[in-house]
């Protein structure tokens, strides 16, 4: 899983700093300059670390503007550590409050060192990456409905080597998508005629992805027709991922048009 971090700060200058200090080879970086944007990012993606400026309002002397986000991050969702950057002068209060709310580290802007930030972020990413395997395993459990769909998958796509072929195939899917969230109106995975199909929200990618698994013996046209029948529309884009694994054609398609509102994501849709 490629590391992904989120920087939340209302000052573009600081966001630019974080982008400069943490190069792309360390992690893909998203930036949010408002609380609303930050919540949308956190709703849609899983991050290996979050840099959080507690105060997003110059009049916010008590550093409360992002308190809701801080409380969410305090639970370490999907193992995500967060690092506070604070411009306040009430250092001890912020530090106490931060550690009370499970922060991974606290930086004060007036004494910040770029190299230390980078090192801390790398350490935080390393901490969060320990959960990657669990999240992949969790995705597999979800896709197979706790294993109850495994027989159906085996019978439908008949991977070479049976179950031994099926698990690497499923892991290949999960490693590219995990963690995942289900669509409110569709199961994670479904047996549909000769295919195994699914539409999930990939919190790794930050968008909806449709999945189609078919045995190589099923013609491309038949598979495509069946997928269209299930989805309601035909795929026009090239797949994100298209590979044969154990004799099974594994295809993942980005569903850019599909709204996150239809998925059971950890944070509800913001209603303004």
């Amino acid at each position: 899983m490629k590391p992904r971090i989120l920087a939340i700060d209302d000052e573009e200058e600081w966001l630019a700093n974080f982008r400069a200090w943490i190069p792309d080879n360390v992690a893909t970086q998203d930036s949010a300059d408002t609380t609303i944007k930050a919540i949308e990012f956190l709703r849609q993606c899983r991050y290996h670390a979050v840099i959080l400026d507690l105060s997003m309002d110059v009049g916010d002397r008590e550093n409360r503007a992002n308190h809701a986000i801080q409380e969410h991050l305090a639970t370490r969702p999907e193992g995500t550590p967060y690092i506070i950057v604070s411009g306040t002068i009430q250092i001890s209060e912020v530090r106490d409050s931060a550690f009370h709310l499970n922060a991974y580290h606290v930086f004060f802007k007036d004494e910040i060192e770029p190299s230390v930030v980078r090192d801390r972020i790398i350490a935080a990413i390393s901490e969060a990456s320990k959960r990657d395997k669990d999240l992949v395993a969790d995705a597999r459990i979800k896709l197979t409905s706790k294993g109850t769909l495994e027989d159906g998958i085996l019978r439908t796509v008949r991977p070479a080597g049976g179950a031994q072929g099926m698990y690497p195939m499923l892991d290949a899917v999960c490693q590219r998508l995990a963690p995942i969230a289900p669509h409110r109106d569709r199961p994670h995975f479904e047996i549909w005629k000769d295919c195994v199909v699914g539409l999930v929200w990939s919190r790794q990618l930050g968008f909806a992805v449709s999945v189609m698994l078919t045995n190589r013996r099923t013609s491309d046209k038949d598979a495509s027709d069946q997928f269209t029948d299930w989805l309601g529309y035909s795929q026009q884009q090239r797949p994100l991922f298209n590979r044969d694994i154990a004799g099974v054609r594994v295809q993942l398609f980005a569903e850019a048009a599909v709204s996150d509102a239809h998925f059971e994501l950890p944070i509800p849709v913001l209603t303004t």
Partner: protein, 723 residues
Amino acid sequence: MHILSCQYQYLQPSSYRGTVGETEVPVDLLEAFDRRGSGVVAFVGSGPSCDAGLPSWSDLLHRVAAEIGLDHEIESPLRRGELLAVATYLARQRSEKDIQERIAKQIKRAARGPSTIHKLIVKLPFAGIITTNYDLLLTEADSSRNFTLPITYLNSSLRSKFREPFLLHLHGHIDDPASIIITRQGYDDIQLKGNQVRQFLSSVFQARSVLFVGFGFADDHIDNLLRDLQDSGAIGESSVFGLIPSVLPFASDRVRHENLRFRFINPIYITDTGDHGVQHLCTWMEDLSRTLRQIRSSQSGSVKSLKPAYLINRLETLLASEPWLPVFAAALDSLPDRPDLHHLVRSNLSRSDVIEIIDRIDLGEMRSILLFMNESRRDPLIEDALTCFPTNREVSGTVPESSVLENTSEVIDAKTLGSRIELMVDNQTELDEVAERIMAISEFQLSRFRVAGNYLRFDERSRNALRDRFTAIRNGLKHKTTKRENYLIWAPPGAGKTYFVTEIVRTMGETFAQNNFRMLNLCTIEKAALASEIDQLAAGRASPVLCMIDEIDGRSTDVWPYETLFSCLDLNTWENRHVVFVLAGSGRGGLTEMIEAIKARPKGADLIDRIPDYNRFELPRPVDEDRLVLFAEQVLIASRAKGQVASEIERLALYFVLKNDALCTARQLSELAKSSVEKMTPADGRLFYDHLFRAGDHQLMRFWEENHDSAKRLQGTFVSIEE
């Protein structure tokens, strides 16, 4: 099926569709059938009974006259159509009672059962039926009892029947010959003196719409009644309809049409191809039935009622937007069995109609609409919405094409369909994960999950692993070897270790179970007793013995158990002894930990050493579905013991089993199954959620309330169980 909005259109040639299934249904009639509408009463004439092979009124009079030797005298007046005069003459010649009884007998003799039209009439959701027929074929056709038992004008509480789905024989019926009206005086009594009947009919025509079926409009009595009602203002311009068989083109018979309209009857012309319109009448009624069913099911499982507000708002905005509104209209027009929507489209769909339509279409129809629109022009917004309306054969927009005759009852059908749709949709939106899994199960065919005897496992791998163990132990008993046939099983308490072994024994036969099986429990047996048992085994016969020693890791502070036991595990290596030992325990966290704990005790290592490594195993941990399978099996067993056959378990009961942590052991499930089966109703193979609880057990309601959403959806749906 097509729809017309105004009666004057009826004669417009373009309004007619000559082909079967294309005859129009007036929108006023359709709306009257709606739950929120006034309701429709069928006025059934002699047509359906003639189609069922019963004699016409003229034939009937001729047969009765022949019986009493007056047939020659009445031939001329019969030919002239003076039927009432003939009936009155016959009644005077004999007596009214005699003729009434002869008519009843003639009809009973000729009756061969209801016609298709009768069956279709009683399946339609009429608010009531009025018939002029003496026969009881409508009642006979009404096997689902959609209507009350037949009443006549003699019924003293006629008024109270108005709110019920009544079946009124206006001229009496054959089960009460005295009620059969045959004379002018009888008709006059109803019309002039029978205030009760007149008031009842007036209420019907005022408050309901009326559809004449199989009625020739040649009955003077009914004609007079209609005229009276018309004069008193009881009949509205578009509340009375008549299905009129007619030879094409309908428009040519303007005289008849005007006569009907003069009496405020709106004709619905049915093509008569020489069969008095029977074929097309049946088709029309089947179409109407299907349409009404679809409308009702769409209303009860509407998109608006089943989908979240944010999605409804999005759909409304999308469908009402300028480029999409005409495409939406075209999509609506393409929906099958929705003449009500087609009518809306024809009367120029406006933006304000959209939200009302969303409240009147079901999920399958919405999917069809979105598919239609997306085919017309691909749009990301449509495709986004489409993901919320997955394809599903069960939730398709069209009602199955099966004949209306195969369905039970119109009302029940619509309800069932509605609840099924509701169930399925809620399954996707509100049910928790456990409920979802239970909804996915339709049946338990227990033989599929069988390991041995009655021992079942849901998970395929566990099942096959245990089958291998089962076969190995059984082979050890069937074939004498000189190897140590000893086994060590670990499983958590209540996971079914003993059950697994006893099922092996059971498959060896009753004699084996009685004479060759020893069951010892290390926690309860004393040293002397254990020594005695072992001595018996050592001194016993060469025939095979299975000895299970349960709680093998028990008595952890005593020194003697393994000292006493370990040497006897060699018995099978003797030429003349055939003993298979199964040692079972559930302590510690698993097999390895248990072995280590045993080894640490005096002679424990020696004991373990006598169990071949490949004969040590854990019973795989049961998955949730194992609990369900086990529960279903225990229900079957308990019901058989009770002399009853359990065939279905309510999903809500299974949900309770999975949600209740106290029911995680085979023992607990078995006890629950037994006590539940005791409460099952004799002759009903269904085990309900309520059967799981003692009378007055508050847990019943508490669990329901705590899991209200899922419970509501799972209640009343069943998983079938069979061997």
